[in-house]
């Protein structure tokens, strides 16, 4: 007992005597003006761009970041509440760039853009910090995208494949499933050793509470970090949130691991930056955005990449989200981000209200990486299916004018209807890639042609259950090699035919007709 007491006393004495105080030269300034989350500070002649500054207020310290360096004043964004800051308060340069804690400890947490917890759990004590702004990896360290990242969404994985290290924009109007697409992708990374970061920018906190609950339910919080800059947080927090998220993902990149980051959404980020810029009196440009709004997003998204083996082989895949106003993709921010990213998934309200969910518009959506980011099994089936789906869309528009169509066209229309039906998928229900390939295989090889359109969903569910439980060869093959052999194909055919034999709702007469014709 006494030894521990002595130990503590000695330790404390030691610590106090070890503590050396040096007189440090610091640069100080005075607050000239404060308001709207922005302060103008005089002095600070040595302040650097985006350096941390400390406001010494009567009620403790508040931190800020220098954003405008002018002749005799500095424009500062205040990270936190600016109510306690008064005119004339002292401001000190901290001689470091804004950093956030990173490491394994942040996984499974909900944090604010400064890396402080907002989930009511303990502080992050990883001891490792990354600056929030960092220059993107250079050419020498990079590699082209070659490995797929599975979103678990049939329409995306087949037609708009996404690779590790790619930046794929999700764009569309409000309330048509942009976030749902991103959340499903996060859920589908379970067991694939991909760390996920979800950055909520200017979102309602109730929505985030829902998302956290859903991710927990799906067991996805084990590998996910959520950075939350809520709708009530100041614009400065919203502005730094995506950079914080990227800094945390970069920790895994440097370790050679794969990570996925979702920015939800960058249009609100641009709005927050516009607010800051206008308050700092930077000249407004198109749509009142400042001149460097392109650089704002390009420097952020450029940090997502795939590193080559010599540099650890890690990757950051980015899924930025942009909300359009009434489908206007030619507004300023959407066009900017479209041109930065390696493709976009365009979600369309019309499709959504027709019941095609996820409402992916296959015509306007592209992935510039293309089939390099697909496994062989998927390549085999997806190419043909993409073609048939495109033909169907063309014919469907045409077929509205008349009903007298030749057999071939009718067959294509029927096939197309079934493919569209196959693309429908529920929320929070991502599908494994081998099962996706199987149902596509069934669709393009005519196995679905005598299943009534309204029964497709039911059929799909049934047949996939059969494949999961009965298949020995096919599933193993796709999982091991990414491809299926003729044997695997044969097995798949047998399972599908066996299952169809048990059904009573198949269309029989039509089949006979087509045979006789």
């Amino acid at each position: 007992m006494s030894t521990t007491k002595d130990f503590i006393v000695e330790e404390l004495k030691q610590k106090i005597s070890d503590h050396k105080i040096e007189i440090k030269k610091q640069t100080f300034g005075k607050v000239i003006q404060v308001g709207d989350g922005i302060a103008r500070v005089s002095g600070l002649s040595t302040a650097m761009m985006s350096e941390m500054l400390e406001f010494k207020t009567s009620k403790g310290s508040v931190f800020g970041v220098a954003l405008n360096l002018e002749e005799d004043s500095v424009g500062v964004i205040i990270l936190g509440s600016c109510e306690t800051i008064k005119e004339g308060d002292e401001v000190i340069c901290l001689e470091r760039i804004l950093e956030v804690p990173v490491g394994e400890e942040v996984v499974g947490r909900v944090l604010n853009p400064l890396g402080q917890p907002v989930d009511g759990k303990e502080e992050i004590k990883s001891g490792k910090f990354n600056p929030i702004e960092k220059i993107a990896p250079g050419v020498i360290t990079r590699e082209s995208v070659s490995e797929p990242i599975q979103t678990g969404i049939k329409a995306v994985d087949s037609m708009i494949p996404i690779g590790k290290g790619q930046r794929e924009l999700i764009i569309g109007d409000r309330q048509i499933g942009k976030t749902a697409l991103a959340i499903d992708t996060i859920i589908n990374q379970k067991g694939k050793s991909v760390k996920c970061v979800y950055v909520a920018i200017g979102q309602k906190e109730s929505k985030i509470a829902n998302i956290v609950a859903k991710l927990q339910e799906a067991g996805a919080m084990e590998y996910t970090t959520i950075i939350l800059a809520g709708a009530s947080d100041p614009a400065s927090m919203t502005y730094i949130a995506p950079y914080t998220g990227t800094a945390m993902a970069e920790y895994f990149l440097e370790k050679g691991e794969d990570s996925l980051i979702v920015y939800d959404d960058l249009s609100k980020h641009a709005v927050a930056y516009r607010e800051i810029s206008l308050l700092l009196r930077r000249p407004p440009g198109r749509e009142a955005y400042p001149g460097d709004v392109f650089y704002l997003h390009s420097r952020l998204l450029e940090r997502s990449c795939k590193l080559n083996k010599d540099f650890g082989g890690g990757s950051i895949t980015a899924l930025p989200i942009i909300e359009t106003q009434a489908g206007d993709v030619s507004a300023y921010i959407p066009t900017n981000v479209i041109s930065i990213t390696d493709g976009q998934i365009y979600l369309e309200p019309d499709l959504f209200y027709q019941g095609n969910r996820p409402a992916v518009n296959a015509g306007l959506s592209v992935s510039r990486v293309g089939s390099a980011a697909q496994i062989k099994a998927m390549k085999k089936v997806a190419g043909k299916m993409r073609l048939e789906a495109a033909q169907y869309r063309e014919l469907a528009a045409f077929a509205q004018f008349g009903s007298d169509l030749d057999k071939e066209t009718q067959l294509k229309l029927e096939r197309g209807k079934r493919i569209t039906e196959v693309f429908k998928q529920g929320q929070y229900a991502p599908l494994a890639v081998e099962l996706q390939a199987a149902i596509f295989y069934a669709a393009i090889n005519g196995f679905l042609d005598n299943v009534p359109v309204e029964k497709i969903t039911e059929f799909e569910q049934g047949v996939l259950e059969q494949i999961e439980s009965r298949s020995k060869k096919y599933v193993a093959e796709v999982n091991d090699t990414g491809d299926f052999s003729e044997e695997g194909e044969g097995e798949l055919k047998t399972i599908i035919n066996d299952y169809k034999a048990t059904l009573d709702y198949l269309i029989k007469e039509e089949k006979k007709e087509s045979v006789s014709a």
């Binding site: 106090i16 105080i21 030269k25 640069t27 100080f28 002095g43 002649s45 005799d72 000190i92």
Partner: protein
């Protein structure tokens, strides 16, 4: 267009530079008339602060403040002043001595926009932080 306080200060500085006291007082008379005519008397404080900045910059003067917890004896004050002059890098310094009981002990030297904090208050804060970590 209205002239800014900075422009007033610059003009004032340039017109009173290298002039005798009598001339200067004449210039100041005129200057105050201009201010009244232009309805800018309310800006006087700002103009003066800019003026003092410009004056110091042009004449290579640094403003310095020595803040102590209690009145210092002459020897201590001289050694602190010496420290400030050393740090000023060849510039002349204009020293003000202030007593602030809140420092608890030690002293703080402010030189232009640099600050050397050797107060007891700062040391306690730094020790507190070191023990917390």
């Amino acid at each position: 267009m209205k002239a800014t306080p900075k422009q007033y200060a610059q003009t004032l500085f340039e017109s009173v530079r290298n002039v005798s006291k009598e001339e200067a007082s004449k210039i100041l008379d005129n200057f105050s008339k201009v201010l009244v005519e232009n309805n800018q008397v309310s800006q006087l404080e700002k103009i003066l602060s800019y003026f003092s900045n410009i004056w110091n910059k042009e004449n290579n003067i640094l403003e310095a403040e020595i803040i102590t917890a209690r009145e210092l004896n002459a020897d201590d004050l001289i050694s602190i002043k010496k420290f400030a002059i050393e740090r000023a890098g060849g510039k002349e310094i204009d020293i003000k001595v202030i007593v602030d009981k809140q420092l608890k002990g030690g002293f703080v030297v402010r030189l232009g926009d640099e600050i050397f904090d050797s107060s007891l208050k700062n040391r306690i804060a730094s020790l507190k932080q070191a023990l917390n970590n």
